[in-house]
């Protein structure tokens, strides 16, 4: 199997980038997309060129490191999968693939396909937690939580922070990411005491980090590798209004 790759190369944050074309030959459909990049990189190294920088770590779809758009689609063509979970059987022999880093102002490119996603961390630091110190917890079964609620909270909490939602959004908005955390904690009894403050602070941090706003197009939901529902965004909107109402 053979693929033509157009890969974004950019030396550093401040330098201009451009596409370079590479041919990848001798591939097999069972190879993962990132394994193909490994092969390309080993070849580039042997040719005395600098390999393509890209982020990856667990390679099983949970760490959220891998982040690239394949043909303008964050994480590539497969529903509910991260880039590392894309296998070459998803592509046609001889196809040309354009590979780009996440595109958003809040995620500046550091090098090649590597973008800086620390904006996400700053949002969590602003309020994405329950303020409980180590050792303060009551017995785990002291607060019963319905199975349904626990499952819903998990659905929201399953976010891996990869940033595909921002990358897919025409507005570079982080609403799905923020809403998932706000909802995860807002659904659980443990999250209630700080619920109103949490959403206010996290949204303020989100705005400050330079993300755009939601215009209800749901590309975020469509590309989310964990298929997190855009309904959480609605829930956050509501929580936010309640939070504001409490201030009045």
């Amino acid at each position: 199997m053979k693929l033509n790759l157009r890969i974004w190369r950019q030396k550093s944050k401040d330098s201009e980038g451009q596409f370079e074309t590479y041919e990848a030959d001798g591939l097999t459909p069972d190879m993962s997309f990132l394994e193909m990049l490994d092969v390309v990189n080993d070849r580039l190294t042997k040719e005395g060129k600098e390999p393509v920088a890209f982020e990856h770590d667990c390679r099983e779809g949970i760490c959220g490191s891998c982040a690239m758009a394949i043909n303008g689609e964050p994480h590539g063509p497969n529903q509910g999968a991260t880039t590392c979970q894309v296998y070459l059987r998803s592509f046609q022999d001889g196809e040309t693939l354009t590979v780009e880093p996440w595109r958003a102002r809040a995620f500046p490119v550091i090098k090649d396909l590597v973008a800086d996603r620390s904006g996400f961390d700053s949002i969590i630091q602003a309020g994405g937690f329950v303020s409980v110190n180590t050792g303060q917890a009551p017995d785990a079964n002291a607060i019963p939580i319905g199975k349904e609620v626990a499952e819903q909270a998990f659905d929201a909490a399953h976010c891996i922070g990869c940033g595909a939602c921002v990358a897919a959004c025409r507005n570079g908005s982080a609403m799905l990411f923020v809403a998932a955390k706000v909802s995860h904690l807002g659904l659980l009894p443990q999250g209630q005491p700080e619920r109103a403050e949490r959403v206010r602070k996290m949204v303020a941090a989100m705005d400050a980090a330079g993300f755009g706003n939601c215009s209800n197009q749901y590309a975020c939901e469509a590309v989310c590798p964990k298929e997190i529902s855009a309904d959480w965004i609605g829930r956050m909107n509501r929580d936010y209004a309640v939070s504001a109402a409490k201030k009045v």
Partner: protein, 639 residues
């Protein structure tokens, strides 16, 4: 060298209580004068950094990833053990302690393991309070599942992503402290050296992975929470970035490395499909709750699974270990799988695989229940193999998954270098020669939330805050920075013809063949020679493109692989010197008539602890004897 584990006196069950009652404390207003460095942000690192900051210490936290949330604890699937006995099935702290000691084939320290079992219950409380969405029963109470090596149901889980949820809990606690300004976070920073002066750990040297800048960080204590070294095998279930560099460089500075040959091979991973492969994917042990392992009864049977009638299948785990069946511990299950494959009964294109069959579970529980329990694992399997495990059995094969060995620590989790603490998988302490499923998460969080915050105070209270600020100390930092710089320069200047990955792959093959699921004297000797030769070739022929002044992933990899090339030799040597079989360490020379491990307690009831002697020199082996007061040393049987 005499290794003092500093185990408190008194009966086993009271040791931790007594320790806490007598530990020296740091006055609350003095805590902020102490600076603590935490390297790594996995379960152990994030929980320790957060807890120490909550106590009032000034904390600097480092990780090589772009965010602390990406540490590989995130990938743990199955669950976390705790002796809550919520199921009323006879669990207790003592039983968890006993299962863990036995699971580790009597090669772990009793006092540490007992403490682990004691604090396990607090971990669940803490995590629930943080909002970790554990699985629940309809009545709202926490649900449990069973894991290997236990006859009680004590594993708490959050679907197939327990590690993720626990790590995000610890990450949120850490983030809170970062937001409050009590923890300074340094993502994309890799620790490349430990600074030791006046016999104490004084700080670390880091490289900013984006700018290449080397920086010295001083501290009153250094915590290494940097995980295991399973990536020495190249193919493993570890994250690609997982490495031994932090602990290995500390080892080169004098920290003893214990039991490096104890590496866990997990029985249920997706088999290798080609030589380009970069990673093996684990299928959680929880699958063995409902899946049944089998191979054809006769060798060379190439029929597809569905064509092999029930009577011609060998459910080998159920046959060999009737009382634990498919839930036999990992080392035992892995070896059994290897044995049936060696007999030519393996399945799949390579013959290196066994079936994990859910047909019976689907019939008994219905597909929807099976889906509810394992959907994400089944879909992961489908993505990788293109096959549906609802229709045909999964194919699985053992793969490197965890390392029980690590830096030597005493009861305080302090290494032999005062001020250097080692937590989680990076230390050797709790799992002996084999770790039970769902115990890694337990240990990481126990160390970070509930053990270290107590033991570090005992150390710091005896130390004046701040460095000595002597000229001599500055020299130590200078020397360490210089040596890191020299190594970087050396890596970049070889400019040979082979990429780093080529060496890594070859190292992995040597270790897998000679120091893998079964080991022999000859093989290990061969392995040592081969690793040495490969290391030599590496320094003559590696090609690291780019420069040291920017983001250079090849350089990062090269540094890590160069450490693996040193560690690999030590792993083989440790396996060679441990002339017995125990847990994961199976020496073919020492087996019972039915192919099980044969321990030699008289000679080897101890922890090996290796001391670095300098580049190219043979390391010196020390030993910490293990004494067992509470458990009886017995042949481990799961039959």
């Amino acid at each position: 060298m005499k290794l003092d584990p500093r185990i408190p006196g008194g009966p086993l069950a009271d040791k931790w209580t007594r320790f806490k009652a007598n530990a020296r404390l740091v006055n609350p207003s003095n805590k902020r004068k102490y600076e603590v460095i935490v390297v790594g942000t996995g379960l152990a690192g994030a929980s320790a950094a957060a807890s120490l900051a909550e106590l009032g210490y000034r904390v600097k936290s480092f990780c090589f990833q772009d965010s602390p949330r990406r540490a590989h604890s995130i990938a743990a699937q199955g669950g976390i053990n705790a002796a809550k006995n919520y199921q009323n099935d006879g669990d207790s702290v003592h039983r968890l302690f006993h299962d863990t000691i036995k699971g580790g084939d009597f090669r772990s320290r009793e006092a540490n393991v007992h403490r682990l079992a004691e604090v396990s219950v607090n971990i669940i409380d803490q995590c629930v309070a943080q909002g970790v969405p554990f699985a629940r029963e309809y009545g709202g109470m926490l649900a449990n599942r069973s894991f290997g090596g236990a006859q009680v149901s004590r594993t708490f889980y959050a679907r197939g992503a327990t590690g993720q949820q626990l790590l995000l809990g610890a990450y949120s606690a850490l983030s809170r402290q970062i937001g409050l300004g009590r923890v300074r976070m340094f993502p994309r920073h890799e620790m490349l050296d430990l600074v030791v002066d006046e016999g104490r750990a004084q700080g670390i040297i880091t490289r900013n992975l984006v700018t290449g800048e080397l920086k010295a960080h001083e501290a009153d204590a250094v915590l290494l929470c940097t995980g295991g070294y399973g990536n020495a095998y190249y193919l493993s279930t570890y994250a690609r970035g997982s490495n031994v560099t932090a602990t290995w460089r500390a080892h080169r500075r004098g920290a003893l490395f214990s039991n490096p040959c104890f590496t866990q091979i997990h029985p249920t991973c997706i088999p290798v499909s080609g030589d380009y492969q970069s990673k093996l994917t684990l299928m959680s042990e929880s699958l063995r709750n409902d899946g049944r392992c089998w191979v054809p009864k006769v060798s060379g049977d190439k029929r597809s699974a569905s064509q092999i009638p029930e009577g011609e299948r060998d459910y080998f785990l159920e046959r060999l270990y009737p009382s634990y069946g498919n839930l036999a511990p990992r080392d035992i299950a892995s070896r059994a799988a290897k044995r049936v494959c060696d007999e030519g009964r393996g399945v799949g294109p390579s013959g290196l695989g066994v079936y994990l069959d859910f047909a019976e579970a689907i019939e008994r529980l219905g597909e929807s229940t099976v889906r509810e329990r394992y959907a994400n694992l089944f879909s992961m399997y489908h993505e990788i193999t293109g096959e549906s495990a609802y229709e045909s059995p999964m194919r699985i094969f053992p793969a490197v998954h965890y390392t029980m060995g690590g830096l030597w620590v005493d009861y305080h989790l302090m290494s032999n270098i005062p001020g250097l603490f080692v937590l989680g998988e990076a230390n050797f302490s709790d799992h002996g020669a084999n770790r039970l499923g769902a115990s890694a998460l337990m240990q990481g969080l126990a160390d970070g939330y509930f053990v270290l915050p107590y033991t570090i105070g005992d150390y710091l209270s005896q130390k004046k805050p701040g460095g000595a600020k002597s000229g001599r100390q500055a020299e130590a930092f200078w020397e360490a920075t210089e040596s890191v710089q020299a190594r970087t320069k050396k890596l970049l200047s070889v400019k040979g013809s082979r990429p780093v990955s080529d060496f890594h792959r070859r190292l992995g093959k040597i270790l897998w063949d000679q120091c893998g699921m079964s080991r022999t004297k000859q093989g290990l000797q061969k392995g040592i020679d081969a690793v040495r030769e490969l290391r030599k070739e590496f320094w003559e022929n590696v090609n690291v493109p780019g420069s040291g002044e920017d983001l250079n992933q090849s350089l990062e990899k090269a540094g890590r692989v160069s450490d693996f090339l040193e560690l690999g030799e030590l792993m083989c040597r440790d396996a060679l010197e441990r002339d017995e079989s125990c847990g994961c360490h199976f020496r073919e020379e020492h087996q019972t008539s039915d192919g099980e491990c044969e321990r030699k307690d008289k000679e080897f009831s101890h922890v090996s602890a290796w001391e670095y002697q300098g580049e190219g020199k043979a390391e010196v082996r020390h030993a910490e004897p293990l004494s067992f007061e509470e458990v009886q040393l017995a042949t481990r049987s799961y039959k």
